[in-house]
């Protein structure tokens, strides 16, 4: 729901790293539990990056899935499709195994020529 804030944060960081060159790709790492909806973020990105060095750039999102671990048998499995938070192998109670709340810019890729 706050994808616009996130898009503005990406813009500020990407422009800071641009050194006056046009940005081609911004690589993001986004956890499943970071509360970010990709399509919405894409639309916000188009809006905030317009007429900047980031216009027409691509957001390359690496998605980090959330995992559960069974308290009984210790096996791990994805949260997705296990929303009842129970182990699909033994039916035991599960708990979250990772944070999956990553939300950061991994890298930016610029064109070599100074922006024209």
């Amino acid at each position: 729901m706050h994808e616009m804030t996130v898009a503005a944060g990406i813009l500020s960081a990407a422009l800071g790293a641009s050194r006056g060159k046009k940005i081609r790709t911004v690589a993001l790492v986004v956890g499943e539990l970071a509360g970010i909806e990709e399509e919405c973020l894409g639309l916000c990105w188009e809006a905030v990056s317009e007429d900047t060095l980031c216009s027409d750039s691509r957001l390359d999102i690496r998605y980090v899935p959330a995992e559960l671990v069974c308290r009984d048998c210790g096996r791990k499995f994805p949260l997705r499709e296990n929303r009842m938070l129970l182990c699909p192998f033994c039916g035991g109670e599960a708990r979250l195994a990772n944070r999956a709340d990553e939300l950061y810019i991994a890298s930016v890729e610029t064109y070599d020529k100074t922006n024209t």
Binding site: T5, L85, E93, A94, L96, Y104, S107, E109, Y111
Partner: protein, 219 residues
């Protein structure tokens, strides 16, 4: 083409401000509690109850976050509770910067400040305000599935509160299912039941006094 590795936190500006808040609150001796929950969960009622229980022992104040209006602030002031209002004008969460201003406006030292976040179980989870303690409130009428649906929020909280417990029978609330969800997502499962009667919040008020004492000792 040139690739630069950045590894930069997108909400980093808020996180930095939250760390500044934490230092500011520590210097002022303010134990700050961020109260989150959906609209109508009973956040204001809980805060009001806690203030009436804690008020005699320790100075208390409230920073009220709302999308618009100051209904809750008036309600608290009518009950004799010191409160300031922040309106986000549509914003879905409070930010550390807004809270810095709000807490400064309270002009308090050595006490407990409750921040009532915007009624929303999604966005406030991702914004550190520099608080020492985060409470998530959900009410019996909202249903027992909330920890399953709003994992990020419940995971980020130190304490969960189930409000409106006097309605539990009428709503057929499945406490066992609710608690299992809390156990799965909260790092340490700690939760309290409250109702409209302020006395039901006494165990939580005592817990906050204990947490404040621990926090003071650690600072």
């Amino acid at each position: 083409m040139t690739k630069q590795i950045l590894k930069k936190d997108i909400l980093g500006e808020n996180t930095l401000r939250a760390e500044e808040n934490r230092r500011m609150f520590a210097d002022a001796g303010l134990f700050v509690v961020n109260v989150c929950g959906g609209p109508g969960a009973g956040k204001t009622t809980l805060i009001s109850s806690l203030c009436s229980l804690l008020g005699p022992a320790v100075p208390v104040g409230v920073v009220e976050g709302d999308v618009a209006l100051d209904i809750d602030t008036e309600r608290l002031r009518d009950a004799g509770i010191k409160a300031v209002q922040i309106n986000t004008m549509g914003g879905c969460h409070l930010t550390a910067l807004q809270v810095c201003r709000g807490v400064s406006d309270l002009g308090m030292e050595n006490g407990i400040v409750f921040i009532e976040n915007i009624g929303n179980l999604v966005c406030p989870a991702s914004f550190d305000l520099g608080e020492a303690c985060r409470i998530v409130v959900t009410g019996v009428p909202e249903g027992a599935d909330k920890p399953y649906k709003y994992i990020t929020m419940f995971r980020s909280a130190h304490i969960a509160v189930l409000s409106k417990n006097d309605l539990s029978g009428a709503f057929g609330f499945d406490t066992e299912y609710f608690e299992r969800g809390l156990r799965a997502v909260m790092p340490v499962c700690e939760w309290y039941k409250t109702s409209r009667d302020a006395a039901t919040a006494k165990p939580l008020a005592d817990r906050l006094l204990g947490a404040r004492a621990e926090w003071s000792a650690g600072e």
